[in-house]
C-alpha cells in the first residue's frame, strides 16, 4: 500500500514537471536538435548554475522562446549566440569563446600542467643525482652506530 502511494506521488511529481514545459513544434528534426543544443549551452542569468533548458525561471522561459523563434526565422547558431552575448555578455555562454580576455581561462590549466610536469622532472632528476659520495667521518659514525645496535639484542 505504502509503495503504491509512493509511486503515485512520484508520478505526480513527474507529471507536474512535464506540464511546465512549453510545447514547441519543429518541422525539421535538425532544428529541434539545434534548439536542444543551444538551450543547453546558454546560461540562465537568474539561476546562474543552470542552463536555460533546465531552468524554470521566467527569464529562461523567455530566452528559450527567443531561441525557438530565431530558429524558426532561419537564423544560424552564430547569430543566435551573438544575439544573447550582445544582451547578457560572454557570461551567458557556458563555453566562453577564446579571446584575449578568456585566454587565461582556456590556456591556464595547460600552462599549469606543463609547468608542473617540468618541475616534477627537474625534482626527480635532482634526487637521482643526489647519490653523492659520503664523507669518511659520516661513514665511521654510521658504522659505530650499527655496531652499538648489534651489541644490544
Amino acid at each position: 500500500m505504502r509503495i503504491t502511494i509512493a509511486v503515485v506521488m512520484m508520478l505526480a511529481c513527474v507529471m507536474n514537471v512535464s506540464a511546465k514545459v512549453e510545447m514547441l513544434s519543429f518541422t525539421v528534426p535538425e532544428n529541434e536538435a539545434r534548439y536542444k543544443k543551444l538551450t543547453a549551452e546558454l546560461r540562465c542569468m537568474v539561476c546562474q548554475n543552470q542552463n536555460i533548458a533546465s531552468s524554470n525561471a521566467d527569464l529562461a522561459k523567455d530566452l528559450r522562446q527567443q531561441v525557438y523563434t530565431h530558429i524558426k526565422k532561419g537564423q544560424s547558431d552564430e547569430e543566435i549566440i551573438a544575439f544573447m552575448v550582445a544582451r547578457y555578455g560572454e557570461f551567458v555562454l557556458y563555453r566562453p569563446r577564446l579571446n584575449a580576455r578568456t585566454a587565461l581561462l582556456w590556456l591556464g590549466p595547460f600552462v599549469l600542467l606543463v609547468g608542473g610536469m617540468f618541475l616534477m622532472i627537474r625534482l626527480m632528476r635532482r634526487t637521482r643525482d643526489g647519490d653523492a659520495p659520503i664523507s669518511e667521518g659520516s661513514m665511521n659514525r654510521a658504522r659505530d652506530l650499527l655496531k652499538k645496535n648489534s651489541k644490544t639484542p
Binding site: 537568474v46 546562474q48 521566467d58 527569464l59 523567455d62 527567443q66 552575448v85 544582451r87 547578457y88 555578455g89
Partner: protein, 176 residues
Amino acid sequence: MRHLIPLIIFAVLVVFLGVGLNLNPREVPSPLVGRPAPQFHLKELHHPDRLFGPADLKGKVWILNVWASWCAACRTEHPILNAWSRNPDLILIGLNYKDNPVDGLRWLQALGDPYTRSVVDNNGRVGLDWGVYGVPESFVVDKKGIIRHKTIGPVSMDDVKTVLMPLIVQLEGESV
C-alpha cells in the same frame, strides 16, 4: 628558503580566494555599457494612448529604472527613488517590467511616483533587449544616447550620492 615557497603559494591562494569570495556573482558586467541604448516605443503607464521611447530624450542625460510590482527588492528601492526624484533636474524613466499595468499604477499611487514618465513592458521584450535579468536595474544614458552605467539590484542612497549623481553631473558637462 625551501620552506618559504609553499608558504608563499599558500598566501597567494588565500589572496585569490579572498578576492573571489568578496565578489558579487550576481553583478555581471553588462556588455551594453558603452553601447547605444536599445530603442523602444512603449505605451505610457498613465496614458496608454501615448507612446514613449529613448528617441524622445536625445540630448539629455537620463536614468532608466526597471521595476515591477511583484519585485520585493523594488519595494526597498522605492523610497530612495522618491527622495532622489525631489531633484527637479533628474529625468527618471520607469520601465514597468513584466507587470500588470493595473498593479503597477496601484503601486505608484500607494508608494508615490518618482518617475518623470513610466512605460509598460508587458511581455518583457524590451527588458530582454536591455539585458535585464534581475529587477530592479538602473541604467544611466548620456546625451548621445549611449548607456554609460548600469546598477544591478536596488539603488542605495549611497550609490546615488557617490556614483550616480557625480556621473550625471559629469555627463551633463559633455557636449552632444
